[in-house]
Subunit: 428 residues, 2 copies
């Protein structure tokens, strides 16, 4: 449980709209809202759906407490009829969408919320907050996992993100293929493996590095990671092996020219007989820095700031748009944004080899099914009742399979077009 | 209360260090940790301290519940002695720092935490998460406030940030001078004025724009803002004034070339006799877009994504470093990062006119006081007990005064050096 009360994690205007719609009789019109992005961050080839599981969990608890209703009345946000409606609020509609770990592209309808206007519109802010954040982190993390080419990654960016965003970021990074997180709340809430041993402060606390290492090994055993760059790295490595022996599990290096230092450290460790001791590197690593270390003797990467801030794209630009009212497609028209109204059904089309070729999204209809199509939307909530969702481990495996399925250009880190096109077909 | 239980918003390694330090007898060594940044985001002239009030509030509740301790033991994060220590944990040390709303520069010691090693080190992640996030938002928001030249700003970026980060962002933006937020939880928790009226969905829900406007005015009165860009903006404005009369408070425009449209809209409103009706613009505004609208007839700006994501700098790069152990200055030496150990005292120096000239930071000593110096550090927690802090309104006014005091180049949006230099004087 991360939220005491989620209902006020909401924009003021959602509730003024509820007030007005209750008054004019439109509050219960059957509506469909869709979540999609008009574009990916510049040069990115794919987006990654993440946060849905977290979102559905919070929507279960989306109720307005008496104190919250009183606050909204007192501050004039809502009138009396709306206050009574909010006091009884419980989402009774349906939510469908792309599975966590699914890829998405511009125009993919990754979440569809349907029900009465008022009950759906109050969820807008929360839906977008959760998905915009978690999808942004997952997309950056997935690129880092690709760049790491099978080497393990640990997410250690909690300190560079809002304290609760950090927990969600750890979850999204794990979903994207990271092996560990430093964040303990993510371990407790989601069962994600946590890791960590010591900071420079621990070495500085002691009278010398040897004493600090000896203390750490006495408490944690040789199956630990010693941080060797507080003073001189070569001396740090020698001291680490003297103290722990060549069975030491790993050394971590957090500063300097990591390519050069990784090489030197490997040679030094081997010369000391510590041929099995791993090398973990960290320090402002993003997907490009990770890729640049591919040829170096690195065993694990620690990524912090870049992963929790989406590596240059801290939000996924997802919007929550009303697309259908009482069966009638609707769309904002003042700008030609190419948006098509109507509830959509989406499939991903594949070659017989399994390689994805395009996504076909049909408004108010169903795509012609072809042999290797995959339906992309699943039920998450039916008549207000959540449906069992995949585990994080399953979502993680799903993403791994999805990334295998896209054309190989789609995995390049360099800027380019989306990995596959999305064809949106208007209602016919 | 935003956190049920803050203690696990913490990196794994903080607790393994506690285990090892308890075992080797160093856990109670008197330590000082300082929070500072080595650099500002590229080209920025100043940082803004924000989040301290939020942080001190959470530290009051920083206790480990029996379930949390059990989780940490079961997963092997801590051993039995550390588990017993955590179960009794309560911070008993001191926290000093720069006031919220104060400016900071590379090397400014914005927060100082002192006490036993273990009790201070467990706060590292939480301290940095809160300050890195809130300072990043406040700095971006302050630049937008400067760019707006006295025009009002509303923060409406909740949907583009993690749902709890959004509440903190609303607080930081208000502290930086924004007038409103869309975030209701920020209104309830912090008393920040909230605002908002209707989204495009409200217009699309109705059979036509006129019906939607009439409904909104019937519920909210003429003292409301009509969103006029769902279909044709000129027609939207005509309809708005027909429905609400020339006493309509404001129209909002969320798309298109805002400079051109603001001009045309002002002329149209004036021609309809709605000379007092305000124009609010929004749509991916950052400080540069706001500055570019300075000559246009805009009355209020709505800022979203850019403010909540720090406008290109989503984290403030603050670090939490051990600088003193039992009175001895300590510093990591493997890289020459120019860091100086020892607990620091900071003053800001000013000309007799009140213009700031430099910040002087002295390690293990006190700066020579000059006539127009201002001491920058205040007590926030003494022997574990929080001290009364300034209100958000006071912090907001403090920032306003600080921004007046820096040399005028410091307020330029263009890239450049920090507004004033920081001189760090080693212990001597």
């Amino acid at each position: 449980m991360s939220h005491l009360r989620p209902a006020l994690l909401t924009d003021h205007y959602e509730l003024t709209m509820v007030s007005a719609a209750l008054r004019d009789g439109t509050a219960d019109r059957r509506c469909t809202f869709e979540v999609f992005s008009r574009r990916l961050p510049t040069g990115r080839r794919y987006g990654v759906v993440a946060g849905t599981g977290r979102l559905i969990d919070v929507i279960k608890d989306f109720r307005f407490t008496p104190e919250e209703v009183e606050f909204l009345l007192r501050t004039g946000v809502v009138d009396e009829p709306a206050a009574r409606w909010l006091a009884d609020y419980r989402f009774t509609g349906d939510i469908d969408g792309y599975a966590e770990g699914e890829l998405f592209f511009p125009g993919s309808p990754i979440l569809t919320v349907s029900g009465g206007f008022a009950e759906c519109v109050v969820l807008e802010t929360l839906v977008l907050s959760v998905l915009n954040h978690d999808c942004a982190v997952a997309a950056a993390a997935a690129r880092m996992v690709t760049a790491a080419r099978g080497r393990a990654l640990i997410e250690m960016g909690s300190r560079r993100a809002h304290e609760e965003a950090a927990v969600a970021a750890a979850r999204a990074a794990y979903l994207a293929g990271f092996r560990f997180t430093s964040n303990l709340a993510a371990g407790q809430r989601y069962g994600i493996p946590t890791a960590g041993t010591a900071a420079h402060a621990f070495t500085l606390l002691h009278d010398d590095e040897r004493t600090a290492f000896a203390s750490q090994v006495a408490t944690l055993g040789r199956d630990t990671t010693l941080l060797v760059d507080t003073y001189d790295i070569s001396q740090g490595i020698r001291t680490a092996i003297e103290v722990a022996g060549p069975q030491l599990r790993a050394v971590r290096i957090d500063s300097g020219d990591l390519a050069v230092i990784a090489q030197q450290s490997r040679e030094l460790l081997d010369s000391l007989g510590a041929t099995e001791t791993k090398i973990i590197v960290s320090g402002d690593l993003d997907e490009y820095a990770i890729a640049a270390l591919a040829a170096e003797p690195v065993d694990m990467y620690g990524a912090g700031t870049a992963v929790v801030t989406g590596s240059g794209a801290p939000t996924a630009s997802l919007v929550y748009k009303l697309v259908e009212v009482d069966g009638r497609p609707v769309v904002k028209r003042s700008e030609n944004k190419g948006t098509i109204g109507g509830r959509k059904v989406a499939v991903r089309r594949h070659k017989p080899t399994g390689t994805a070729t395009e996504e076909v999204v049909v408004s108010q209809g169903v795509p012609d099914r072809q042999a290797n199509d995959r339906l992309l939307q699943h039920s998450f909530v039916v008549d207000g009742e959540p449906v069992a969702l995949p585990s994080i481990a399953e979502s993680r495996e799903h993403l791994r399979q999805c990334l295998i399925s896209i054309p190989w250009e789609g995995l390049k880190l360099s800027a380019g077009d989306p990995a596959i096109p999305v064809t949106v077909v208007p209602a016919g």
